[in-house]
């Protein structure tokens, strides 16, 4: 059962990655694409808790690292921390609260981009932070939150359905 769940996570993330890398390139906002992987990781962490967040984050980061990353494991570490962070807010979860997950997504993308900025650009000494902030970070965060508001609701619905199904099955066996 656990393995099947793990496989479902992988499939979910791969679908997400394929859509992100192939479709989002056609719909950019100020040259930036939304970070669908981050949306899924943060949403999963917020809905299911830190452990799920870490697992989701690790898998998402590994997929990105295997395809486009320079160092295997670096992206995984970033997404893993994002999942852990968002998972800490799991205890404040309320069904009708839509602001917190979107804020979490924004904060996680912001932190992740800052780490990228430090590791990629401060060392090269090329780009100014102000330019990076206004031209890359902000559009990316806005775009990700916009897409995230839709995806979050979808994830929430799917989880409700799966729980309801499980409950019905349990009743059946009782």
């Amino acid at each position: 059962m656990r393995i099947i769940r793990f496989l479902i996570i992988i499939v979910e993330l791969i679908v997400c990655y394929v859509v992100q890398s192939s479709v989002c390139g056609h719909f950019t906002l100020n040259h930036t694409m939304p970070d669908l992987m981050m949306i899924i990781v943060v949403t999963a962490a917020y809905l299911k808790g830190s452990n799920a967040g870490i697992l989701y984050g690790f898998c998402a980061g590994m997929i990105l690292d295997l395809t486009y990353g320079t160092h295997l494991g670096f992206g995984a570490l970033l997404y893993l921390f994002a999942g852990f962070l968002a998972g800490l807010f799991h205890k404040f979860y309320r069904k009708d609260d839509n602001i917190t997950p979107l804020l979490l997504i924004a904060v996680c993308v912001f932190l992740q981009l800052n780490v990228y900025y430090i590791t990629e650009f401060v060392i090269q000494g090329k780009s100014e932070y102000g330019f990076y902030l206004t031209n890359i970070m902000l559009p990316k965060i806005v775009y990700t939150v916009l897409i995230g508001s839709v995806l979050y609701k979808l994830c929430q619905l799917s989880i409700y359905w799966s729980i309801r199904l499980e409950e019905r099955n349990l009743k059946h066996y009782d």
């Binding site: 992100q20 192939s22 989002c24 452990n51 980061g61 160092h71 494991g73 979860y93 090329k126």
Partner: protein
Amino acid sequence: MARYHSKKKFNLNPKYFLIVFGVICFVLIFISYQYPEKTLPLRKAAADFVSPMQRGVNRIGKAINNRIKNFSDVNALIEENARLKEELNQLKYENKMIQQDNNEMETYRSLYQLDQKYISYPKVAARIISRDSNSLYSSFTIDKGSNDGIKVDQNVLAGNGLAGIVTEVFSDSAKVRAIIDDSSNLSGMSLRSEDTCIVSGNLQSIRNGYIDISMISMNADIEENSEIVTSHISDKYHQGILIGYAVDIKTDSSNMAKEAKLIPAVDFEHLEMVLIITELK
């Protein structure tokens, strides 16, 4: 509801979970930093697994994009069509004139026995199937790989200019680093005077439509709008491929050399098809 879902399944404290996976990540980073070739089979497998899906989904994405554009652009297209027809007539006339000039030039060329500047290299066309979704890098994946004779360090053209270089090859796909990428540095030269310079990609500048040229010698004879092509010094790029046009030439901060902006000949915003030169330098 949510509490129901997490009951007693993973009763592990998240902190330990975090530490375990964190350690795994650090080990992976260490391995890939120390022995990059060890991770290559994994990356190859991943690329071979994902690229067929990307190929299909990319087509869907393009179709949706085109559909949306169709709706919004019909009026603009009708106008443009009328304008283009006018322009076409004019160009037809001009083309005839140029053809005459061209014939004249051919004869001059044969008289001077000039070397052919653009040697025709064997090329393979490929379609871009995915872009790096992390917007800091400018690399993309094409749908041809080692099965089609693609090798690392082959030059990639688009339209009439240089687009990038192949950095990784998988069996049915390959990764290309564009010349506008921050980590891209190549040696260029002025087509007319053969003065060399360094063309480097810059994330900040490309937003304004150009990349950077540096290390032009002080007495170099490079004018505004002169064509910059790949130079004879480069060990990876074939000589004489158009990179772009130099503008805004000025002395750099060290007062020892000149720097300039380069407007790429390739439109990186609307890149769909590329040509790969299947010959290594």
